[in-house]
């Protein structure tokens, strides 16, 4: 069995199983915990609307505070957009999605995506170095923070190598592609155990905050 066959076959299937089961386990484990009922009289109604509003509005900080976090905010958006554009708008990825979903969609030229991926990788590298150097981030950072960012960078790096037909150490193109898929598997396996879970938890957290602040009559 070649690296590519292993990556596309048992490795990918195992990664999907860990990902799906792990995400469900963690979400169910959180949402099944008891919840204290708030009996206080809301200052203003529309708690659900307040929650939904916060799910959207927290995408931007209060404008009064924005100037203090411009870099974190802009860089965060930039690499997320670049990362998802690389996944979803790269032509060679579409057959994979078509296989699962039964349909595809228009993509960007491969060379554009390659540039986008390179920028995203560079941004993640800068953010990783910043995490290691900034006293606040360094203090907060755990194994999870470093592993999560490195495992996010690896598919970008190996994907760029495969796309550019770079074949270091005498590896064949198929091997490089296999390694790329294996790095995606690693990301999927790690996903339920670390901070990457924020993909599923951000909006519930924002909703709670919005409803709570609405109860107090404060714009979230």
């Amino acid at each position: 069995m070649s690296i590519l066959e292993f990556a596309r076959g048992p490795a990918f299937h195992a990664a999907i199983i860990v990902f799906v089961f792990g995400v469900c386990w963690r979400l169910v484990g959180i949402f099944l915990l008891r919840r204290h009922r708030d009996r206080s009289q809301p200052r203003s109604g529309g708690l659900v609307a307040g929650g939904v509003r916060a799910m959207i509005m927290r995408s931007l900080p209060p404008h009064e505070l924005e100037k203090q976090i411009v870099f974190q905010h802009a860089s965060g958006y930039a690499w997320h957009l670049g990362f998802f554009a690389t996944i979803l708008l790269f032509g060679p990825h579409i057959p994979f999605f078509r296989q699962f979903l039964g349909f595809g969609w228009p993509t960007l030229p491969n060379s554009w995506v390659l540039v986008l991926a390179a920028i995203t990788f560079a941004l993640l590298l800068v953010l990783l170095l910043r995490r290691m150097a900034n006293p606040v981030l360094k203090q907060l950072s755990t194994f999870d923070d470093y592993v999560s960012v490195i495992l996010t960078m690896l598919p970008l790096l190996t994907g760029m190598m495969a796309s550019a037909h770079l074949q270091p150490f005498g590896l064949r193109y198929e091997d490089v592609l296999g390694i790329h898929i294996l790095t995606v598997c690693a990301l999927l396996i790690w996903f339920p155990f670390g901070k990457l879970m924020h993909l599923f938890l951000t909006f519930p957290a924002r909703f709670q905050a919005g409803a709570l602040l609405q109860r107090k009559g404060v714009k979230a």
Partner: protein, 437 residues
């Protein structure tokens, strides 16, 4: 109130820590008690917050203690690290994994967090606004405070106040007798102050700070109630008994709520006290286990409402003096009371110049959440107050008005240390003094 009274009071606060009784809990008992509090309080909503944190550090940029000192240890989310670890090891969905890779909390570590959750946090909630995930950090710091208090690791000054509350039912020397004496003194000056009446539509309180430093606040509030023609009474139970969980037993709060209910109160109005407001307004029903049978308002809300209804009329001040308004965190960001004080300022004929950070993004005065009781933290308080002074100075206003006597005390103490000359005024006192004849 004068500088001597403030000076004497500050000296008394400086001696509070020395009055605390030593704790005899073992390290194991401390850890067990802290864990018990954390596990009883962390529910699904807090779990969601804890699981969502990205360690992005943006909350630091909202915290006046971090901004004032530049020290990473004052990053808000860092202050709840022990809570997070207890959750992850004990109740989180991946506890089987985190027990292997996350160290347990220790008594020594809890003790080291005293500085982080008491000295350098006023639970002002500004970090809660900044977090892109919506994580409400300040209530979790509140849980940390309760956990440390249960482990007898609250600052000695807090423990001394709690002991006084528990044994003498007084706060800083003020109990029912002192509140009654204050009411009698005000009555002798010709202002009617009904105390502990059997029936009243409105129940009002006075605070220890009112009795010790700002008696004019109660006098002017009484004039306002009398002018609106309300059926009201002052309850002699001090609202500091409504204090945060780390300093007082819930039984005291239940007793106070019961006293108000027995009098058939339709409204319970809290004085200029950011400390008591959220405790009764938002926590009261949860502690009682049922909806409160009355509405809870701050005196600022009441004034705003009565002005709007036309039952209260004020004489505008001459010359349109310029002022700025300090939103007390627990009443403003913690309670949504923004429009009412500004309506009162408008009715007073004052020219309001807002600070750059106002309403929901207002900076704390530096001494909220009982921080002003901690003498060893005064250097941190002053660093935070310097941010406030800069914002006030930038408005060019001649005075700063606030609606919380704890904030007012912090301003006065901070101004004294910094030799800052800007006037510091009380909203309720200004309103009371400008009632139409």
């Amino acid at each position: 109130m004068n500088a001597t009274a403030i000076g004497t009071f500050r000296q008394e606060l400086a001696g509070l820590a020395g009055r605390a009784q030593p704790s005899h809990l073992s390290d194991a008992q401390r850890v067990a008690r802290a864990k018990e509090v954390i596990l009883s309080r962390v529910d699904e909503s807090y779990a969601t917050y804890l699981e969502t944190c990205l360690h992005c550090g943006m909350c630091a940029e909202a915290c006046h203690f971090f901004l004032g000192t530049g020290q990473a240890k004052y990053t808000p989310i860092h202050k709840v690290d022990p809570l997070k670890r207890v959750y992850r090891r004990e109740t989180g969905p991946l506890r089987w994994l985190f027990r292997l890779v996350t160290r347990d909390i220790t008594a020594g570590e809890l003790e080291s967090y005293q500085e982080l959750v008491f000295d350098s946090c006023t639970e002002c909630g500004r970090c809660d606004l900044m977090c892109p995930m919506g994580i409400q950090i300040s209530p979790m710091i509140g849980i940390m405070r309760e956990a440390l208090a249960a482990a007898d690791l609250a600052p000695p000054a807090f423990r001394a106040v709690k002991a006084e509350q528990t044994t003498a039912h007084k706060v800083l020397g003020v109990g029912r007798a002192e509140i009654k004496a204050l009411a009698a003194r005000i009555a002798s000056e010709g202002v009617k102050v009904p105390v502990d009446s059997d029936r009243a539509d409105i129940v009002y309180f006075a605070t220890a700070l009112d009795a010790r430093l700002f008696p004019e606040s109660l006098k002017q509030a009484a004039k306002i109630f009398n002018r609106t023609g309300a059926s009201w009474t002052l309850l002699s139970a001090s609202p500091e008994l409504l204090g945060t969980g780390e300093s007082v037993a819930e039984v005291d709060l239940k007793g106070i709520l019961s006293e108000a209910e027995q009098r058939g109160a339709k409204s319970v109005i809290l004085p200029q006290c950011g400390h008591a407001y959220p405790r009764l307004r938002f926590d009261g029903a949860n502690i009682l286990g049922r909806a409160l049978p009355f509405e809870v308002l701050s005196i600022t809300e009441y004034i705003g409402r009565e002005l709007q209804a036309g039952r209260l009329k004020l004489k505008p001040m001459q010359g349109q003096p310029t002022v700025t308004y300090h939103d007390p965190c627990k009443i403003g960001r913690g309670g949504g009371v923004f429009a009412e004080p500004r309506a009162a300022i408008g009715a007073l004929g004052l020219q309001l110049r807002e600070m750059e950070s106002h309403e929901r993004t207002n900076y704390c005065c530096g001494g909220g959440g009982g921080q002003f009781l901690i003498d060893k933290a005064k250097h941190l308080r002053q660093r935070a107050f310097e941010i406030k002074m800069r914002e006030v100075d930038n408005t060019g206003a001649g005075a700063v008005i606030t609606a919380c006597n704890s904030c007012r005390y912090n301003y006065l103490a901070g101004a004294s240390d910094a030799n800052w000359q800007t006037g510091i005024q009380s909203l309720v006192e200004m309103v009371g003094a400008q009632l139409t004849d």
